[in-house]
C-alpha cells in the first residue's frame, strides 16, 4: 500500500460534513422582516378561500422552503439594499408561492401521489375533484394577488410575464406527459431541457426578474437577473430528478425511483437508457414495452451502475455555474452573495 501519510506542503480536505442549507440563515439574517410580512400577506391572500381550504393545503404553505419568494426578495434587495421593501414586492412574493403551490397540488393529482412534504397530499385527503379546484383556486388567487401588486402602467408588463409563466408551467407539464419515449435519445435530452425550462426554470427566472423590476431596476439588469434565475431553476430541477435515485425514502418522504415507475423521462433516466441500450429493461419500461415491476431494485441498481447520475450532475453544475455568470456583473453586496450561495448550494448539497 502506498504511504498516504507522506508529508505534503499543503493538503486540501473536502470536508467531512455536508454543507448546511443557507436558506434558513438567509431568512434569519437578511430577510427576517420581509418573511414576516410575507406570512401576514399570505394569510390575507388566503382569506377569500377560507371556506374552501383545509389544514392539508395550509400545511403545504407552511412546510415549503419558500425558495422562490426568497429569491424574489433578494433580487429586490440587490437594488433596495436595507430599505423596507414595498408592499407590492411582498405581494409578488406571495403570488409566486401560491403559483408554486398550485403546481404542486396539480402535480400530485397527475402523479397519483399520496404524500406531499411528508404529509397526505390534497388529492389523497380530499379526492381528485376537490384537489383540481383547490389547485385552480391557488392559480387564480396567485394572479389576483400579483395584479393587486401592480401600481404603474409599466408594471403591467410583469402581469403578462406572470400569465406567460403560468401558461408555460401548464404547457411544460403537458409536454412532459406527452413525451414520446421512442424518440432518439439526443432529441429526448433536448426535450427534457425544454420541459424543465417551462415546468420549473421560468418561475425561478420570473422571481428574480420581477423582484428586481418591482424595485425599479434598469430593464437590462432585471432581464439579466432573470437569466440567472432560470439557470438556477434548471439546476434545481435536475438535482431534484437525481435525488429521486439517491435519497433515502424515510428521509425524503418520496418513494425511491418513482420517476421510473411513472415512466417520467428525467435526465438521469435518459442517460441510463443511452448507456444500458435499448434492449435493457429500463429502456423497455420507459417505452412501455413491459410493465414496471413492483420491485424495481434491479433496475435502480442498473441505473446506478452507469454514469447517468454523474453525467446529469455535470449538467446541473454547468447550469449553476453559468447562473453565476449573470450575477457577477452586479455590485457585490450581501444579497448578491446570498443569491450566489443559493446557486452553488443547489448543486453542492449532500445526498
Amino acid at each position: 500500500m502506498k504511504d498516504i501519510n507522506l508529508p505534503r506542503t499543503s493538503v486540501l480536505q473536502a470536508g467531512v460534513n455536508g454543507k448546511a442549507s443557507p436558506l434558513k440563515r438567509i431568512l434569519d439574517e437578511l430577510l427576517d422582516q420581509d418573511i414576516n410580512q410575507f406570512e401576514e400577506t399570505l394569510k390575507t391572500a388566503l382569506e377569500p378561500q377560507a371556506n374552501y381550504i383545509s389544514e392539508t393545503e395550509l400545511n403545504i404553505y407552511q412546510r415549503g422552503k419558500k425558495i422562490r419568494p426568497i429569491m424574489l426578495f433578494l433580487s429586490a434587495r440587490m437594488i433596495c439594499g436595507d430599505e423596507e421593501l414595498s408592499h407590492k414586492i411582498i405581494k409578488a412574493g406571495v403570488s409566486l408561492e401560491m403559483l408554486h403551490v398550485a403546481t404542486l397540488i396539480h402535480d400530485d393529482i397527475i402523479d397519483d401521489a399520496l404524500v406531499r412534504r411528508g404529509l397526505t397530499s390534497v388529492n389523497a385527503k380530499r379526492g381528485t375533484k376537490v384537489a383540481i379546484l383547490i389547485g385552480d383556486l391557488q392559480f387564480v388567487q396567485a394572479i389576483r394577488t400579483f395584479t393587486d401588486a401592480v401600481e404603474t402602467d409599466s408594471e403591467m408588463g410583469l402581469v403578462k410575464m406572470v400569465l406567460d409563466t403560468a401558461f408555460d408551467i401548464c404547457a411544460g407539464e403537458l409536454s412532459e406527459i406527452e413525451t414520446n419515449p421512442s424518440e432518439d435519445l439526443v432529441v429526448l435530452r433536448q426535450h427534457y431541457f425544454d420541459v424543465i425550462e417551462r415546468k420549473t426554470a421560468v418561475m425561478f427566472g420570473l422571481a428574480c426578474e420581477t423582484g428586481m423590476a418591482l424595485a425599479k431596476s434598469r430593464t437590462g439588469e432585471s432581464r439579466r437577473l432573470g437569466f440567472y434565475g432560470r439557470r438556477v431553476g434548471r439546476a434545481f430541477q435536475i438535482m431534484d430528478d437525481l435525488f429521486d435515485f439517491l435519497q433515502i425514502e424515510e428521509d425524503s418522504g418520496k418513494e425511491v425511483g418513482i420517476d421510473l415507475k411513472l415512466q417520467r423521462l428525467t435526465l438521469p433516466i435518459i442517460y441510463a437508457m443511452e448507456e444500458l441500450g435499448s434492449s435493457h429493461n429500463v429502456s423497455r419500461i420507459m417505452r412501455g414495452e413491459i410493465l414496471c415491476p413492483d420491485d424495481i431494485s434491479a433496475e435502480l441498481e442498473a441505473i446506478k451502475s452507469t454514469q447517468a447520475i454523474e453525467r446529469a450532475y455535470a449538467d446541473a453544475r454547468h447550469e449553476a455555474l453559468d447562473a453565476l455568470e449573470y450575477l457577477k456583473h452586479f455590485k457585490k453586496n450581501v444579497y448578491r452573495d446570498a443569491l450566489e450561495e443559493i446557486a452553488l448550494f443547489t448543486v453542492d448539497r449532500k445526498i
Binding site: 500500500m1 502506498k2 498516504i4 505534503r8 506542503t9 499543503s10 493538503v11 486540501l12 480536505q13 473536502a14 470536508g15 467531512v16 455536508g18 454543507k19 404603474t152 402602467d153 409599466s154 403591467m156 408588463g157 403578462k160 406567460d164 432518439d184 439526443v186 432529441v187 435530452r189 433536448q190 426535450h191 425544454d194 434598469r218 430593464t219 437590462g220 432581464r223 439579466r224 432573470g226 437569466f227 432560470r230 438535482m239 439517491l246 441498481e301 446506478k304 454514469q307 447520475i309 454523474e310 453525467r311 450532475y313 455535470a314 453544475r317 454547468h318 455555474l321 453559468d322 453565476l324 455568470e325 449573470y326 456583473h329 452553488l344 448543486v347 453542492d348 448539497r349 449532500k350 445526498i351
Partner: protein
C-alpha cells in the same frame, strides 16, 4: 434453533482474506466524468490563454488495505441454513487521481442578457471596438438611455403592434443570448468600430428631440449608413443562429435545431418587415409610433420556405442561376441585393469556421495529482442463506458501514489566483463526495457479498 457460535471463524477469516486478495486489483469505481468547476477564470501564467473554464474529475480508483480484516465472532453466527459474518476492515483506504482541466473561453464583455452594452471596469473592450474613434458609452449615457427605453416601454405596449414586437424578443431571448455568448465573432461584429455604440447614441438623441432616427445622410465609421448597419446586425444574428441550428441538426438534436432556427427566422422576419432592402423610410419618434399604431400593418411571418430561399439566393451570387430567384419571384418574396447575398455568404463562412473551431477545441490538463480517503474502521456484515429449492447458498444481505468520509487532495503545486478559486470550489463539492461515498459503499457491499459466499462455500 440455537446459534452456533463454535464455528471456526478464524479459518473463514483466512479464506475471506485469500478471496479478497483476488479482488484487490479489480476496479472498484468508474472514472467520473469531468464536472464543471468554474467558468471564465483567469488562468495561471504558464497557460497559453488568459481566460478559460475549469473542470475536474476523479479517476483510477483503488481500494487498498482490504486484507487487514477481522471477523468479529461475537456478532457473527451460524445456523443450519443461515450464516451471518460481521467483519471490520481496519486499514482500508481509497486512492485515486484527480485531474483539473482548463479550456479556452473567450471573455464575454457585452451584457448579452441585458442591454447589449459593454460591461464596465475590469473587462477589456471587445476586440475591434477601439478601432474607431467612438468613445464607449459613459455610465451617465447608459443611465439616460435605459431611462428613455423604460419610458418608451409603456407607450409602445399601448400601440396596436407594440406588444407583439416586445414579446417577440422575449420568446427568443435565450437563443439570442446563446448566440452572443457562444460566438466571439458575433460579439466582435456587434461592437466593431464603435458603430453600434454611435447608433444607439444617435437613436437616443433623436428620440429625445423627435428628430430623424435613421438618417440617410450620416455615414458611420464602417462606411455604412443607419439602415444598412441595422440590417447588417440583423443578418449577423440571424446567420449565427442558423449556423448554430445546422450544427445542432448535424448532431441529431432536431429540437435545438428548431429552436435556433425559429430565433434566426424571427430576426430575419423583423428585418423583412421593418427594414426591407435596408430601405426603411427615414423616421422620427412620431413616425415610428404612427407605424406601431397602424392597425393595417401586420408583421408578416416569414415561412420556412421563404427563409430558406434567402440563403439559397445568397448562394446564387449573381442571380444568374435562376432557381432561387425564380422561386422568390413566383412567390412574391423579396429578392436580395448583391451586397446582402455577399454578406450572408461571408457570415455563414465565418460562423461555420468558428463553430468548427469551438468543436475541435480540446481541454488541457492544468493540474493532476493524488487524492485519497482513509476509511479505517469500515464494518461489513454479510448474510448467506441456504436456498433449498436450488440447493445452494446465496447472499441474502450485504451491508457496509463507512466511517466519516473526507477526500484529501495534494494541492501543493497549485499556484496563483486560479488555485484559490479551485480550492474554494473543491472544498464545497459535498454532492460529489457523498455520491462517491455511496458508490464505494455499494461497491464494497457487492464485493464483500461475493467474497464471503465464495469463502464459505469453498470451505
Amino acid at each position: 434453533m440455537k446459534k452456533n457460535r463454535t464455528y471456526n471463524w478464524k479459518s473463514l477469516e483466512e479464506s475471506i482474506r485469500a478471496e479478497l486478495s483476488k479482488e484487490q486489483d479489480n476496479k472498484v469505481l468508474n472514472n467520473t466524468p469531468f464536472y464543471p468547476l468554474a467558468f471564465h477564470t483567469r488562468m495561471p501564467k504558464d497557460v497559453d490563454f488568459d481566460n478559460g473554464h475549469l473542470s475536474f474529475r476523479f479517476k483510477d480508483f483503488k481500494l487498498n488495505g482490504l486484507l487487514d480484516l477481522n471477523v468479529i465472532s461475537q456478532s457473527s453466527y451460524r445456523k443450519e441454513n443461515k450464516i451471518q459474518v460481521s467483519m471490520r476492515l481496519n486499514e482500508i483506504a481509497l486512492e485515486a487521481m484527480y485531474q483539473i482541466n482548463s479550456k479556452y473561453a473567450s471573455m464575454v464583455n457585452i451584457d448579452t442578457a441585458g442591454n447589449m452594452t459593454e460591461f464596465g471596469e475590469g473587462y477589456s473592450r471587445v476586440a475591434g471596438a477601439s478601432d474607431g474613434d467612438t468613445n464607449p458609452l459613459s455610465p451617465a449615457e447608459i443611465d439616460a438611455m435605459v431611462t428613455q427605453a423604460r419610458d418608451q416601454k409603456t407607450p409602445i405596449n399601448a400601440t396596436a403592434n407594440g406588444p407583439e414586437l416586445m414579446s417577440s424578443y422575449q420568446k427568443h431571448s435565450e437563443s439570442y443570448n446563446s448566440a452572443f455568448v457562444v460566438s466571439e465573432n458575433l460579439r466582435q461584429l456587434w461592437a466593431a468600430q464603435g458603430v453600434t455604440t454611435e447608433m444607439s447614441r444617435d437613436t437616443h438623441e433623436a428620440v429625445s428631440n423627435d428628430t430623424t432616427i435613421n438618417s440617410d445622410s450620416k455615414v458611420y465609421a464602417n462606411g455604412l449608413k443607419y439602415n444598412p448597419n441595422a440590417g447588417t446586425q440583423q443578418t449577423n444574428v440571424s446567420t449565427a443562429l442558423l449556423v448554430m441550428a445546422l450544427k445542432a441538426k448535424g448532431e441529431g438534436n432536431t429540437k435545438l435545431y428548431e429552436k435556433y432556427k425559429a430565433a434566426s427566422k424571427a430576426s430575419a422576419t423583423f428585418q423583412n418587415n421593418v427594414n426591407p432592402n435596408n430601405n426603411a423610410p427615414t423616421s422620427n419618434k412620431t413616425d415610428v409610433y404612427n407605424r406601431l399604431n397602424d392597425k393595417s400593418l401586420k408583421m408578416k411571418e416569414m415561412s420556412d420556405e421563404e427563409f430558406d430561399n434567402m440563403f439559397d439566393q445568397a448562394n446564387d451570387e449573381d442571380g444568374q442561376d435562376g432557381g432561387a430567384d425564380e422561386k422568390a419571384l413566383s412567390n412574391g418574396w423579396r429578392i436580395l441585393k448583391g451586397d446582402e447575398r455577399k454578406l450572408i455568404r461571408e457570415r455563414m463562412f465565418l460562423f461555420e469556421e468558428e463553430m468548427t473551431m469551438i468543436k475541435n477545441s480540446k481541454p488541457e490538463l492544468l493540474w493532476a495529482g493524488d487524492c485519497w480517503a482513509t476509511l479505517n474502521g469500515t464494518e461489513a456484515s454479510v448474510t448467506l442463506n441456504y436456498d433449498e429449492s436450488n440447493s445452494e447458498w446465496e447472499v441474502s444481505d450485504s451491508k457496509v458501514s463507512l466511517p466519516g468520509f473526507a477526500i484529501e487532495l495534494d494541492d501543493s503545486f497549485w499556484t496563483g489566483k486560479t488555485a484559490d478559486i479551485v480550492r474554494e470550489r473543491m472544498a464545497s463539492i459535498h454532492f460529489v463526495k457523498s455520491l462517491l461515498q455511496s458508490k464505494i459503499k455499494s461497491s464494497l457491499e457487492n464485493m464483500m457479498g461475493k467474497v464471503v459466499l465464495r469463502s464459505f462455500t469453498a470451505a
